[in-house]
């Protein structure tokens, strides 16, 4: 199957077949990650720069581990010491990195569109590791992987995404990705946490009432309440948010017996969940998602840096 992508920036440019190729490949890498020697020589000699212009320990660690297990040479660039803080423009920074003769740039930036800018300024493959409130495609792919592992497919699957959708780059990729795969998506949250046009993301339904939609959901995807990102006061208190939108033991009777719980992490106990639900042995796939992150990122790097079929070399 042809996988004709140079970059992973906008998930809407990927077909259902492309996404399945990534998931299948991730499954093959899952075997590698289960071994005593969790490393393959696949990307030996390739240089990957992790350009994290805003701090993100988890996503960066996951990428770094994926790169190392593929035997790539990796370099971390950014954080509080980033050149952009010193006044250098993003384009100048990328041209500097390019002079190192690199093969791939993984970009995390607080500005929407930054990965596209990087892809225009550099011949390297670019992976969006989260840009502003725009997209976070590898997060969406690891979510799909975790759901696929548990549900076996996506067609007709009813997925509810609960919480801060309006400020979520995860939703920017996850909702379109779920739609590409044939799932039905419901967004749940107060009006203050909704995007201006949920339909533009691809949402089928929007609701402010978790209890109304919970009985229909196969997958309950709880978003992190990003206190640091909320500009105003989108809800009166954590107490009220937890009461209205927290997935708690007292709500379990509303859930389908086989409904699973996802969360992009890091979780806030007492906000999105109580501990009973966060740690639920049958329902919670939160730690599976973390593991899936390594496998999916290995798969994406493998497929994007994979040579002639995606136009990188003759």
């Amino acid at each position: 199957m042809a996988f004709n992508h140079k970059h992973l920036i906008d998930i809407t440019e990927y077909s259902d077949a492309d996404i399945m190729t990534i998931l299948e490949t991730a499954k093959a890498f899952s075997q590698v990650n289960e071994r005593a020697i969790k490393k393959v020589p696949t990307l030996k000699g390739k240089t990957i720069v992790n350009m994290f212009n805003e701090p993100s320990t988890r996503t960066r660690s996951s990428f770094e581990l994926a790169e190392k297990r593929l035997s790539a040479d990796t370099m971390n660039f950014g954080g509080s010491s980033t050149s952009t803080v010193k006044g250098e423009s993003l384009i100048d920074t990328v041209m500097t990195l390019d002079a190192y003769k690199i093969d791939c740039i993984v970009v995390r930036d607080k500005h929407a569109g930054a990965p596209y800018m990087v892809s225009q300024a550099s011949p390297a493959a670019v992976i969006d590791a989260g840009d502003g409130k725009h997209q976070h495609p590898t997060q969406a792919l690891l979510d799909l992987y975790s759901i696929w592992e548990r549900k076996g497919g996506f067609e007709g699957l009813r997925v509810g995404i609960v919480g801060d959708i309006g400020h979520s780059r995860v939703c920017g990729s996850l909702v379109p990705a779920l739609k590409i795969m044939g799932a039905e998506v419901t967004l749940v949250g107060p009006g203050t946490l909704m995007p201006a046009r949920p339909d533009v993301l691809g949402a089928d339904h929007v609701s402010a009432h978790l209890d109304d939609v919970l009985p229909d959901l196969d997958v309950v995807y709880m978003l992190r309440v990003q206190m640091e990102r909320l500009e105003g006061a989108p809800f009166p208190s954590i107490r009220e948010y937890h009461d209205l939108y927290g997935l708690t033991r007292r709500r379990e009777h509303l859930m389908r017996p086989d409904a699973i719980i996802c969360h992009p992490g890091p979780i806030n106990r007492g906000v999105e969940f109580d501990s009973y639900m966060a740690d639920h042995p049958e329902r919670s796939v939160i730690l599976d998602q973390v593991y899936a992150g390594i496998c999916v990122r290995m798969a994406a790097l493998y497929l994007l840096l994979g040579g002639a079929d995606n136009g990188l070399s003759a």
């Binding site: 906008d10 423009s89 993003l90 384009i91 930036d109 500005h111 929407a112 569109g113 930054a114 596209y116 800018m117 225009q120 840009d131 502003g132 409130k133 725009h134 997209q135 780059r169 920017g172 995007p195 201006a196 046009r197 949920p198 533009v200 993301l201 500009e231």
Partner: protein
């Protein structure tokens, strides 16, 4: 110096002129208008097939001088204006230092007289430093030649401050020009709130953030009796507010830009084109259609460019870091001819009202008629000249033009300012 302009199609709706005639310019004035004129010693310019109209005025321009001369200065900005067919521009006060005292107004006027390629009518800040907190020295600025007051670039957040400005400043008889932006709704908004803000994950700049202040400023204009002009109006509902105020008989006018008329938020695609980042933002196709109707029915009084030059490196940033604004002086006339006159939405008479008569009237600067004795501020354009935006570069120091590469029809060929030729055969003098 005398010029005999032969066989131009003269359009001056104030005089009901719409036909071919000759115009004789002697010194800074029009000496004679009529058929088959002859004049000894005058330079004869054949304008067959071209239109001759009262000199165009762009009442909303950022010349960036003093303070940001790397983007534009009075020489380059007025050069771009001449190229676009203008005989005068109104300079916005968001200079560095801010034009909030007579001294800066004096500087702008003096500098324009020295190096300018058109007249420059300075506007002064309504509030000191454009901060919306304290009155600027309006009297001093008027004494040095300020023609209007505006905090352009900022909405004045406090309604009481707007009232104070109008109540105090109305004694000078100048117009108050409002940039309408309620920061509590707009915040760090980057693009129109809706489809594009959602798809691109950027903070939205909602239509209501503009409309709320349009409504407020109309109320305060009624309260104070001051003259109000709404700057760069962008939404259908905002236009309805202005229409209602006019119907009520209030002295309220408004302006629209070619980019809000002929571009929409859909121009902002996945490539995050910062050239399309303007304030107020590009709105929906529906809003653009409403603006065009307003232009035709008279609700929109004036066409302005909000010419906002920025250095290339400033626009080559992340969208949120890029400054708001695009240039417009060199494309405004051609865009209006191509998109509104040629398709029959408006005629040349209405075009002259929008780009010459109304701006002069609102600013209270000298009105120009195509008749003997009038000041010879004249614009000549070729309505059939086809050209491509940016193909031969720009006269402006900056090239952040949102219409770059577009094929347009109609372009200024000759401009006279007080009888002096500033554009000759398409070249700036």
């Amino acid at each position: 110096m005398a010029f005999l302009l032969k066989s131009a199609h003269i359009v001056d709706p104030a005089l009901g002129l719409d036909g071919v005639a000759d115009v004789l310019i002697e010194g800074d004035r029009i000496a004679e208008v009529g058929p088959d004129l002859a004049a000894e010693g005058a330079e004869i310019i054949d304008l067959t097939g071209k239109y001759l109209v009262p000199g165009l005025v762009d009442m909303h321009v950022h010349l960036r001088d003093p303070g940001q001369e790397y983007k534009e200065d009075i020489e380059s900005g007025t050069r771009a204006a001449a190229k676009g067919g203008f005989t005068g521009v109104c300079a916005m006060p968001n200079t560095d230092p801010v034009t909030d005292t007579g001294a800066i107004v004096q500087y702008v006027k003096t500098r324009a007289a020295e190096v300018g390629h058109c007249r420059v009518y300075p506007s002064g800040a309504m509030t000191r430093g454009l901060k919306g907190e304290a009155l600027s020295e309006m009297g001093d600025m008027v004494a040095r030649g300020a023609v209007a007051f505006t905090d352009d670039g900022h909405g004045i957040q406090d309604a009481g401050m707007v009232r104070t400005c109008m109540d105090y400043g109305k004694m000078f008889g100048k117009v108050f020009m409002s940039h309408c932006q309620d920061n509590s709704l707009v915040g760090e908004g980057q693009v129109n709130e809706g489809v594009v803000s959602t798809r691109l994950g950027m903070l939205g700049w909602p239509a209501e953030g503009e409309e709320v202040q349009i409504a407020r400023d109309i109320q305060i204009a009624r309260l104070t009796g001051a003259r109000l002009h709404i700057q760069h109006i962008t939404t259908a509902r905002g236009l309805a507010l202005v229409r209602a105020a006019k119907d009520e008989g209030l002295d309220v006018t408004c302006e629209a830009t070619p980019h809000h008329l002929f571009l929409t938020e859909d121009a902002i695609d996945d490539t995050y084109p910062t050239v399309m980042k303007v304030n107020p933002p590009l709105r929906t196709a529906e809003d653009a259609r409403a603006l065009a109707l307003g232009v035709a029915d008279g609700t929109v009084d004036a066409i302005v460019t909000d010419h906002a030059p920025h250095a290339a490196w400033e626009k080559a940033r992340e969208f949120a870091f890029a400054p708001f604004g695009m240039t417009g002086l060199e494309t405004s006339l051609a865009l209006m001819i191509t998109h509104l006159v040629k398709p029959g939405v408006i005629g040349y008479g209405r075009l002259v009202e929008l780009m010459s008569i109304a701006p002069r009237r609102i600013l209270g600067v000298e009105e120009v008629r195509i008749e003997a004795g009038a000041t010879a501020d004249l614009t000549v354009f070729d309505p059939e000249l086809a050209w491509t935006v940016g193909a031969d570069g720009y006269e402006s120091k900056s090239d952040n033009c949102g219409f770059d590469g577009e094929s347009l029809t109609g372009r200024a060929t000759d401009v006279f300012v007080g009888g002096m030729r500033t554009l000759a055969g398409g070249s700036v003098c």
